[in-house]
Each structure stands twice: as C-alpha cells, then as structure tokens.
C-alpha cells in the first residue's frame, strides 16, 4: 500500500525510464561522438527496444537485424534529437517501431511473412527489489488505463501499433469505414494519454 502511494505520486510515464541512467545526457554525449556514452545508452534501453521489435516483427533473427538497424539509426540521428519533440526513450522507441513496421511490411510486400519465432509476452520476474515492484505496479496502471478504452478503440490501437497494420488494414479487419479506423486509433491513444497523464 505504501508502495502504491509512492507510485501514484511518480510522474514517469514510461516505466523503464523511472530508474537507471539519465538517457537525455547519454544521448547528448552520444551526439558529440562519445561511443562510451552510446554503449551505456544501449545497455539501458536494448531490452526495451528489442522487446518492442520482437513483439512486432516476431521472427527472432529478423528482429535482431531490426534492433541493430534501429540503434545505428539512433547513433546517426542523435545529433538531431530534439527534446521538444518527446522524451529520449520515446524517440528511440519510435525509431525502433518504425524499423519494425518497415520490416513487416517489406516482408508482406515481397513474400508472405516468415514467422519462426512466437513471442510470448513474458511477465517480468517478480523479486523483492523496490525497482521491480515499482515497474510491476506501473504495469497495473497501464492495464487500468487500457481498460478505460472502449473495446473498439483498444482493438484498433493494438492492431495498428502491435500488428504493424496501416489504418486502412485496421478498417478492413474490423469491418469499419476507412475514415473510422484512424479516428478510433487517435481517440484510443488520446484516452490512453489522458488516463496515464503521459507527457511527451
């Protein structure tokens, strides 16, 4: 209960950013060509980025290529990172997500997607450290926020973000008019943002 209260007062929207090194300063140092800082940045974020990539791409070997591509992209573009456009982690996840979606779509455009690796969303190992507990409770917060979305909003958001589908494909999957899917995706994300009080 005490921990719950502590979490409630936290203002971190992205759980993994709640602990560990200051990603912003690592990114700034990386932008000056500091490879050591970039290695620290990798260590702090690789599991999070790779988890997202695998969730979208699914194939393990391809996911590793995509994660590598994402980090190289982050390295070349960190000189242009603009804190006004979002947090460092959000910016990095956006790059990784874009790479993952591009890979999924290129596979579909050329040939049917090869899927050899099934990802299961692994619950974190729960141990007694405060860090883990905080993360776990933050998950409950995310789940509660997701529960405030309507089924149709949640479906549209998940198909788009996790399935890597365009909003046109989402409309076809859900059997809704073309313009409606993009509205649901947006409304769902807005509700998620407002419930979690996410700041960019």
């Amino acid at each position: 209960m005490v921990i719950m209260a502590a979490v409630g007062s936290g203002d971190e929207s992205l759980p993994t950013a709640a602990v560990g090194p200051d990603l912003g300063s690592l990114l700034t140092r990386s932008a000056r060509g500091d490879e050591g800082a970039f290695a620290e940045l990798y260590d702090a974020t690789a599991a999070r980025l790779h988890g997202l990539v695998v969730r979208v791409v699914r194939d393990r070997a391809q996911s590793e290529e995509v994660t590598q591509e994402a980090f190289l992209d982050i390295w070349t573009h960190c000189t242009r990172f603009d804190p006004a456009k979002g947090s460092p982690l959000s910016w990095m996840l956006t790059i990784a997500h874009r790479k993952a979606v591009d890979r999924v779509r290129s596979a579909e455009a050329s040939k049917a997607r090869e899927v050899t690796y099934e990802v299961t969303t692994t619950e974190r190992e729960h141990d007694s450290t405060l860090e883990k507990v905080e993360v776990r409770l933050d998950q409950q917060r995310v789940r509660r926020a997701l529960a405030t979305l309507t089924d149709t909003q949640r479906g549209a958001v998940e198909l788009a973000y996790l399935g890597g589908h365009t909003h046109t494909e989402v409309a076809a999957l859900l059997g809704i008019p073309l313009g409606t899917a993009k509205t649901r995706i947006r409304d769902g994300l807005i509700r998620l943002r407002d419930t979690l009080e996410v700041t960019a």
Binding site: E65, T76, G86, S87, H167, A171
Partner: protein
C-alpha cells in the same frame, strides 16, 4: 487544407500510415504545432503498450552494434547548437543525407576502435540482408486502378492498400478459433487480401494454405498464410476476378498442389 488532416495524427504516431500518407502528413506537421505536440504525446502513450515486454538481445548484438557505430558517421545537427562546439566526428556533407536513409557504413578509419574484428565482420554480414530486404521491399503497384484519392495524389499503393481502398471492395468475414478472419476482394483491382487479427497457430509441420475457387479449374493455390498467433495481412496470389470463392485448408508446411484436407474456411464471392 483538408479539414480531415489532423485526424491522421494518431495513425501517423504509430506508423499506421502508408509512405504517401506519411509524406503528406509531414508536410502538414511542418505547419501545425498542435499536431506536432499531439504526435509526441500519442507516441509516448503508445509506448506504454509494450512497457511490459522486455527482451534482452543476444550479447553478440551489442558488440556488433558498437563495432558498427565506431565506423558510422553521425549526421550533422540541423542547426549548430549555440553553446556547444560542433561534434568532431561529423562529416562536412553529412547534412545532405535524407533522414530516412540507412546509416552510412563507410569505413572511416579502417579498423573498429575496440579491435573486435569478428564483431565487425558479423556486423557487415548482418547489414547485407537488410539492404537486400530494402530492395525487395519495392512497392508493388498495379496500374490503371481506381482508388480513393488521398489529399495529395498517392503515387504508389501496395496491392493490399489498393484492394482495401477499392470502391468495389467486397468484405467477407468468418469466425475462426477465438476471433475472425477477413477476406477482401476487389474485382476492379483483380486481387484479394486475407487479414486476420489472431490467426490460430497450425499444428507442428502444418500451415494454412489459401485457395481460389476458379470455375473450370477447381481450387487453385493462392499462397500460404504466414504462421502466426498474431495479426496477419497477406495478398492472395493470382487473379481474383474470375474466382467465385476462396478457401483455406491445413496443408504440409510447404503447401500442396491441390487441397489435401477439408477446408477450415470457405468464402463465397457470389
């Protein structure tokens, strides 16, 4: 400006747009501070959806990434920072590179800084398939097709997008497992697309195969459905114009010439 333009902010934030829509919306973003702020917020909100999915990549990937980094030139900042001195590693012409380009892999100084030649080789090997995939990703286009105009005229649409946007798109839905499977066919485009939000996993060694029911020819293979317990979108191979229906059977992994089992799903176009 199309009043509908802002509505794309959510789909854009989660990359649920085509390349044409992305280009078009980014033109809008340059002019619309509201959408810029919204996109940043919605991206952060979307990121929470996978905050419980962490998977450490294999240790070799770290060595590979860092070896590549030491050989990869960074882009120069768009505007030089007022206080900080310019980064020494920036090439003079780096700013000319488009944002979406692949990282330059020119060997600036020959050997990787940490001397891990094996990792560097692994990295170079790792990059090649990606480049190959990028070439293979060339968008499939079909000429002379009517699509819904999207703000600026899209120059290229994938076969899938053309079918899904076609005026004559015919949508069929069937229950399968715990969810639905969907088939969309356009006579005008001449193609059909299979979509599923949670395709059941086939038994080991088996795969789902798509078929067109073509009068006079019977069931003609339309390709395999990628094995997955997740969302899938796949265009059917072959001409959807003459087909009167489509079906799905469970077949050996590499597919069959003719169906060897009873259909698990049948769609009728008539």
């Amino acid at each position: 400006m199309n009043p509908d333009t802002h509505a794309l902010a959510g789909a854009y934030a989660v990359n649920a747009v085509t390349d044409d829509e992305r280009r078009s919306f980014e033109t809008h973003l340059d002019l619309c501070a509201d959408c810029r702020a919204e996109v940043a917020e919605l991206r952060a909100a979307a990121a929470t959806l996978t905050s419980d999915v962490e998977l450490a990549p294999p240790p070799a990937l770290r060595a590979s990434v860092l070896a590549a980094v030491s050989q990869t030139r960074q882009l120069s900042p768009l505007e030089p920072p007022a206080a900080a001195s310019p980064p020494g590693s920036n090439g003079p012409d780096a700013a000319a590179e488009p944002l979406a380009s692949l990282p330059a892999t020119a060997s600036v100084d020959g050997s990787p800084a940490d001397g891990d030649e094996l990792a560097a080789r692994r990295n170079r090997r790792g990059l090649r398939p990606w480049l190959a995939a990028a070439v293979a990703a060339a968008v499939i286009t079909i000429g002379g097709v009517a699509w819904q105009p999207w703000e600026d005229s899209p120059s290229q649409l994938t076969a899938t997008e053309q079918v899904l946007r076609a005026d004559d798109a015919q949508r069929l839905e069937l229950p399968m497992g715990s969810s639905e499977i969907t088939l969309v066919r356009s006579r005008a485009v001449g193609r059909a697309v299979f979509l599923a939000d949670a395709m059941p996993t086939p038994p080991s060694g088996k795969a789902y195969q798509l078929w067109f029911d073509v009068p006079g020819r019977g069931m003609v293979s339309a390709g395999m459905i990628p094995t997955s317990g997740h969302a899938v979108t796949v265009p059917l191979e072959g001409d959807a114009r003459t087909a009167t229906g489509a079906g799905i059977t469970l077949e050996p992994e590499n597919g069959s010439e003719h169906p060897t089992s009873d259909p698990v799903a049948l769609f009728s176009f008539t």
